[in-house]
Structure formats: C-alpha cells, structure tokens
C-alpha cells in the first residue's frame, strides 16, 4: 500500500459494508492500556510498562509477520527510554486509539508504514516515559529534574542518588505526560541504526513463538469449515447425519460462509467436515473462468477510465515519432499463501468476547466482532499473536468472522483452522491486470511520449470504498508514474470488477505498475538501439536519488562486463514506499528452465532502524518476486480456483536461491519502507535479463521460455 496523502481515518470510520466480506469498521477504539496489565506492573504510557521487579515491557502496535516490527519499533522506544534492549519484553498491543497507524488512519499493519509511522512516535513514546520516570525521581528526592538523568533503567540524581525504574514506575504513571520531549541526536544512538539481532529469534527457533494456530483456551473445541467451492456461494441444504455420527463431533453449525463441524480435535472435525453432504447455490460466479476475466480486463482498456497524469501532447508526439513502441503486459491473480493457513480462535459469551490470532487489521477485527456479537468494543478483548506470514492476507477478517460466528452459535471457545486447500481456494487474490503501453522515440532515440493505460480490479473499492474517488484507487496507481524525463505523458487506469474477490498483496500495485513501466523502458531502449542502463540514466538528470541507486547497482553488478556464455543481465529501477531501489538480475535459460544466478540490489531507504532486518527483507523480497515471476498463477474454471496446494501453486525452494548482493546507500533522509518494494522490482529486472538472453520479451507473468 502507499502513503495516503490525507490521513484516511475519517474515511475508515465511515466505511461500511461492501461485497466480499467487508464489514463495518466504524468503531471508536477504547483507550484501555491502563487496565490491560498485571497489578505488579505500571503503565507509564501506552507503550511502556514497568514492573516492580524492573522488568520492562514495550508494546508493539503492529503485527509481526516476519518483517521485524517487533524488533524495530521497540528498538526506537528503548533507545529513548534508556533501558537494556536485550532484556525488554515485547507484547502486541490491544486495539486502542493510541495505536492507530497515522499513515493509514487505522490500527493496521501494511503499506510498509510501520517504521515510517513509528520513527518519531516511538522515540517520543520512549522519551516521554523516561521524562516521567526522571520527574518521579526528582519529586521523590525533592530536587530539580534537570539535575537528574536516566541510564540503563535507573535514574541518577545529585549526590549519587539512584533509583531503579521499578521503584519509580507507579509514581511516574500518575504524572501528566510532558507535551514536548527532547530526542537524542542520532550520533548518540546505542541501538537505532545498528544491525542488531532480533528479539523474537530465540522463540522462533525453539518452537516457542505463539502463532494464531497455536492458541489454546480452556475448554476449547476445534472447527473445520466447509465453504462453497465457488467463492460467494451459499448453502442450500446440508445432510450432516454421517458427520454427526463420527468420533469426537460435537456440533454441526451453519454460518454465513458455510457449514462448520466442531469436534474435540481438529483432525476429527476435518474428517467429519469431509463427510458432510452439502448442496450449494454457487451464485453468480459459478461459470467464471480465466478467459472471461481477461476479456473483461481487455474490454476495460478501451474504456475512458480515470486520468492519473496528462502532460504535453501525446498524440502529437506520436504523430511526429521517428519510431513507435507498443506493448501490453499481463499479470495473473496471485495467492498470498502465507505458510500458516488461515485460522482463528474466538470465545463469545453473553457479555464478553475474546478473539485471539494472527491479525493484521485490529480495527477491522473489532468492527467485525461488534457487528456479529452485538457487544460493545469495551466488552471485546482482541489479542494478536505472531503471524505465520501475512503479506496482506490477514488484513481481511473473513476467517475471524467465521470463528466468531461458530463460537457464538455453540457457546464455547473454538479454534477454526483452514486446510491449505481452503486457504488457496478462498483467498482475496492479488488482482489480475492488463497494462497497455505506447511510446514514441525521436530520430536520436530519445523518448518523446509515453502513454500507459492499466485495467485491473480495485481492492480498495471492496475494502475501503470511500478512498476511491473519481474512479481512482490510490492503491492501484502506486509507482504508475515513471521518474524519467519524457515530455509528453498520458497515464490512466480503468477499474473493472472481474467476479473474483481481490485483496492487497505485498507491494500491492507497485508490482503491476513497475513490471509494465520497467519492461517498457527496456523495450524503448532496445527500439532506440541503446543500452538499457544508459538509456534510463540519460533521462534521470532531475532525479538524483533514482540515478544514484541505478548507477550503484550497475557498477556493483559489473554492468557491461562480459558474462559466461548463456547468461545475461537485466536492470530495473523504482521508487516505492519512499524507498529508491535498482536491481540487476543475472539469469540463464538452460534446458527450457529459467535460472536466476545473481541479484544485485542497490537501495536508498533513508535512515534505518536495523540494517540486519533491512537485509532480511531484501533477501525475502527477491524470493517472493521469484515466486510471482516464475510460478504464481491463480486460474479459474467453473468458478473454482484451480490451484489447491503447493504442488500446483509452487513456491521457490532452496536450490533455486540466487546469490543476493545488497548495497545500501548511507543516507540521512527520512526512513522509507522496506517490507515490499524489492518484490515488485525483481520481475522486470528478470524479464529484461531474459530478453537480453533470448531476444523474446516476457510480457506475461509468470514468465515462460516457450
């Protein structure tokens, strides 16, 4: 997701029910941090709790799905709080007003916003708590707070006075938080900016990290849900006689999305689910297939759509062109496929409810829970566990709503677990898209015109409809404008519903638009008879951050230097989430198989909280981009998603891993996001390498040598 220029909070609050499972999210979030902790601890503010035993708990209000927020955000708090980061306990925050992501206007993890939103906020939170602890010590000693300072969990005062945070926390928590606090100069940082190891690693390598699927409540039952094979279909009739007679089965419950079997163990529930005999009304999409989807998208290309940019006179420049270039790029639906299948635990009672699991969008979860249970937000507890991958899938709350409905119906705590097949066939898929591009070159080979028209489906129109204005979905137009100096430009989008429900997937529309733009720039360079690196660089005089990473990647990759026979390089460039990145991919195509040998990444993301996590994200994004480039292709037949598991929806495996070299620009610019852009950029860089290798353009994903 992108940064929304105007905080969209009001829009979120007004958002109401729409197709595909979106629910009212217009809930005010309670400010409940003061009561949500043990009596032995004091909440100094919304982010910091200190125990009488000097234990320090820092709340993390973003979901940890691998991207390292549960390290990065507490690092910023601890930096200013003056505590030993290695001893800090990190806890995921409940829904609360204080925890809203200001960049997205809701309590939501996405859009590579966590560090950008928290960069100052988290340091201020730490500094505020520290200032209160110092003030509490000064009060206790009857001295001027200016004569005291904090270090390593202690406050030091005049004449060798010392007090631990633990002894001051309760008094500090009763003080009025200071309005303004001074932040450390970056040169004094102990933790921020350093390549520290993550605090969650130990739990994750010993099998001790709790994911949603690991939750267990006293008296909890297990559920497996039969959903219509055509998404959106409804139950007409169910014969559950056989299922009910199976061992361990306690309940068979009809809910909005299907029929759930509840049993003493999940395996029993799942076996019995498969014994249900359900008649479905498959609904309006029962005959939907992939050909029809792409016909709809192709028809969209001839609709007027919305204008994103109009500069100069494209038609005139096309008329005067020495050479014209034309191409259409096609992207399929993709599945998120986090390795932890969708699952959720709910305990709905008459006057309270507990929801626990892998959640990306706590505010939506709260809205859903109030709607289904009829309870008030104050009566609902929502706990976020570690997420076994999210990638945008856990922004939606369909699986949570199902667990809440089941628990409400049976009056007992229940854990719903989907199978992998359920997960792959009932995703909110990354939208398929078609992008038509036209360009003009003058006699010297310089581009004089560029036009782009993109036809795709809007996730935002389903999930947050008020954000779509005048036919423009801001999350469909990310990186749609090229940084290159081209005099005449026309850029537009057309929103088309295709029938299959869609969701935000890592890098969202950056992946669609960067693939089209950077593939097309390569095609223009080839038509101009120019080197694709030099061609791009010649158009970046006014874009120093773009030019800088492009040059760095080319230089480190040895651009222009000879390669072993049968290998070629491709280059691509983008900005996303305020991060500037270039990649050079080296590939071969032997025996009909694409092999990626080496990826050189140059990135300028401004200041970093943790370069170790930045590198993890770059590595992971390359592999994620490989999946989309080489394998990812969700197809439809008779309304059903054809891929069921990892045999037909393949993910890259260790033998395919290329050598990844990362070059990070030292920068004092404000931080950019790093969880997503690398994935988007990999695809055009590889496509361009394959063109250099084979002379054939890869205009359709996943790529094929055939």
């Amino acid at each position: 997701m992108t940064t929304l220029k105007n905080p969209a909070r009001r829009s979120f609050l007004k958002s109401s029910a729409a197709a595909g499972g979106a629910l009212v999210i217009g809930v005010a979030l309670p400010l409940r941090f003061r009561e949500a902790h043990a009596a032995s601890e004091s909440a100094v503010n919304a982010w910091v709790r200190i125990g009488g035993d000097n234990s320090v708990t820092i709340l993390c209000a973003r979901s940890e799905m691998g991207q390292g927020v549960a390290m990065a955000l507490p690092t910023l708090v601890a930096e200013e709080l003056e505590v030993d980061l290695g001893k800090v306990k990190v806890e995921f925050a409940p829904p609360g007003e204080a925890y809203i992501n200001s960049m997205l206007g809701a309590q939501l993890t996405g859009g590579s916003t966590s560090v950008r939103d928290g960069w100052e906020k988290m340091r201020v939170a730490g500094a505020q708590a520290r200032t209160m602890l110092v003030a509490a010590a000064a009060d206790k000693w009857g001295v001027d707070a200016a004569k005291c300072h904090a270090k390593n969990g202690m406050v030091m005062g005049p004449g060798g006075k010392k007090a631990t945070y633990g002894s001051l926390a309760e008094a500090a928590s009763k003080l009025t938080p200071p309005k303004e606090v001074a932040l450390k100069d970056p040169s004094k940082w102990r933790y921020a900016g350093k390549p520290l190891k993550r605090l969650d690693t130990a739990a994750k390598i010993h099998g001790k990290a709790e994911y949603g699927i690991d939750v267990r409540l006293p008296g909890m039952l297990f559920a497996s849900l039969a959903q219509c094979p055509v998404i959106g279909g409804k139950v007409v009739n169910v014969d559950d006689a056989k299922a009910k007679a199976m061992p361990g089965v306690k309940h068979v419950v009809k809910i909005t999305d299907g029929v759930a079997v509840v049993a003493d163990s999940w395996w029993q529930a799942r076996q019995a689910r498969d014994a249900l005999n359900i008649t479905w009304d498959e609904g309006p999409n029962k005959a939907l297939n992939s050909e029809a989807v792409f016909k709809t998208l192709a028809a969209g290309l001839s609709k007027p759509g919305a204008t994103i940019k109009k500069q100069g006179d494209v038609a005139a420049a096309m008329g005067a062109a020495a050479k014209k270039v034309e191409a259409t790029y096609e992207m399929p639906f993709l599945s998120h496929s986090p390795l932890e299948p969708m699952n959720f635990t709910a305990d709905v009672r008459k006057d309270s409810a507990m929801l626990i699991g892998s959640i990306q969008f706590q505010q939506l979860a709260m809205g859903m829970a109030t709607q289904i249970t009829g309870l008030k937000p104050e009566q609902i507890t929502i706990k976020t566990t570690f997420l076994g991958g999210g990638f945008g899938r856990r922004i939606d709350c369909d699986y949570m709503a199902q667990a809440v409905e089941i628990s409400k119906a049976i009056g007992a705590p229940v854990k719903l677990v989907w199978t992998r097949e359920d997960d792959m066939t009932h995703d909110f898929y990354r939208p398929a898209s078609l992008t038509q591009m036209n360009g003009a070159l003058d006699a010297s080979g310089r581009p004089t015109a560029l036009s782009l028209k993109m036809s795709s489906t809007s996730v935002t129109a389903r999930l947050i409809p008020p954000l779509v204005k005048d036919g423009v979905d801001p999350l469909m137009t990310e990186a749609i404008l090229v940084p290159y100096d081209i005099a005449n430009q026309s850029v537009g989008t057309v929103i088309n519903e295709t029938g299959l429900r869609v969701g935000y997937l890592r890098s969202v529309s950056h992946a669609l638009n960067v693939f089209a733009n950077e593939s097309f720039m390569d095609e223009m360079a080839a038509a101009a008879g120019k080197d694709p690196y030099q061609f791009r660089l010649s158009l970046l005089d006014k874009q120093p951050r773009f030019a800088n990473v492009l040059k760095l990647a080319a230089q480190k990759a040895g651009w222009g230097k000879p390669l072993p026979k049968g290998r070629a390089r491709g280059i691509a460039l983008m900005e996303g989430y305020e991060t500037y990145m270039a990649q050079v991919v080296e590939a071969s195509a032997e025996g009909g198989k694409i092999k990626v040998h080496r990826v050189v990444v140059a990135v300028d993301l401004g200041r970093m909280v943790n370069p170790n996590i930045v590198q993890q994200q770059l590595e992971g994004n390359i592999i994620f981009g490989m999946q989309a480039s080489l394998y990812g292709n969700i197809t439809l037949k008779d309304g059903r998603v054809e891929q069921q598991n990892f045999n037909t929806y393949q993910l890259p495996r260790i033998p395919e891993t290329p050598k990844i070299e990362m070059h990070i620009v030292k920068s004092n610019e404000k931080p950019g996001g790093i969880g997503e852009p690398g994935m988007a950029l990999f695809s055009p860089a590889l496509a361009n390498a394959l063109f250099a290798l084979t002379g054939k353009r890869q205009r359709k994903m996943p790529f094929s040598l055939a």
Partner: protein, 151 residues
Amino acid sequence: MASLNVNGKALEVNADPNTPLLWVLRDTLGMTGTKFGCGAQLCGACTVHLDGQPVRSCGTPLSAALGKKVTTIEGVGATPAGKKVQAAWAALDVPQCGYCQSGQIMSASALLASKPNPSDADIDAAMAGNICRCGTYPRIRAAIHKAAKGA
C-alpha cells in the same frame, strides 16, 4: 491408550491410530512447535524425526510412530546436531515470520547428523522439501554451513 516416545519421554496418548502424528503432537499433547502448513507433505513445516530420520508428520499416522523415538523442535536442541543448528540459526538471525523454521531446523539437524560437513548440493537435496514463504533460504544455507563448522 498408547505410549508414544517424544523427546525421550514416554507419553500416554488417546487418539485414533490413523490420526496424523502432527495432530497428535499439536492437539493431543499440546506441543505446538511442530507446524501445519499443507497437510500433503509438500512444505515440510511439520518435519519431525522418527528414530533420527526426518519425516513429514502430517503424512505419518500415529501407528507408524509407536515404538519409535519421536524428536520434535522442542527436543532437538538436546541432540548434538540440533544444538549446533539452533546456535547457527540464532547467530545468523535466520527466521522472519518463523513459521516454517521448526521444520527447517528439523531437516537441517537430520542432515548434519548424517553428513557433518554437507556440500551445497547436499543442502539442496536435504532442504528442498522445506518451503519458506518469507524467503530465508540464503540464511538457511549459510547457517547450515556455519553449524557444520561448529557454529
């Protein structure tokens, strides 16, 4: 009631002998470190050892585990290879979301127990059955080499 040896302890389990070992570990015994990923032996998230050999517990019925020594992520640190692997995983900060890492560590530990100094080709062969959606493969490979050198 059957007796299942898990991480050196004999545990009484009351479950249908056809139940996959994965669900006996997770639901019956409450040992949730072993993960469910695909249920079809395609992703390796559920990897455990039976008498030291890596198996996919989602496709191994309880009956096949009776009379054998089951080792899971909760206990693999007590084996020499498992200890080295976990130390290398920590030193290189391998996990991201972490969900597949139990299975990765079980496969890597079995590899090192049988081949103390594996080549890249050995690593490819032993680890190709373990998917990581976060893409931690570069660090997994580096960590196995590091563990082989004594971490």
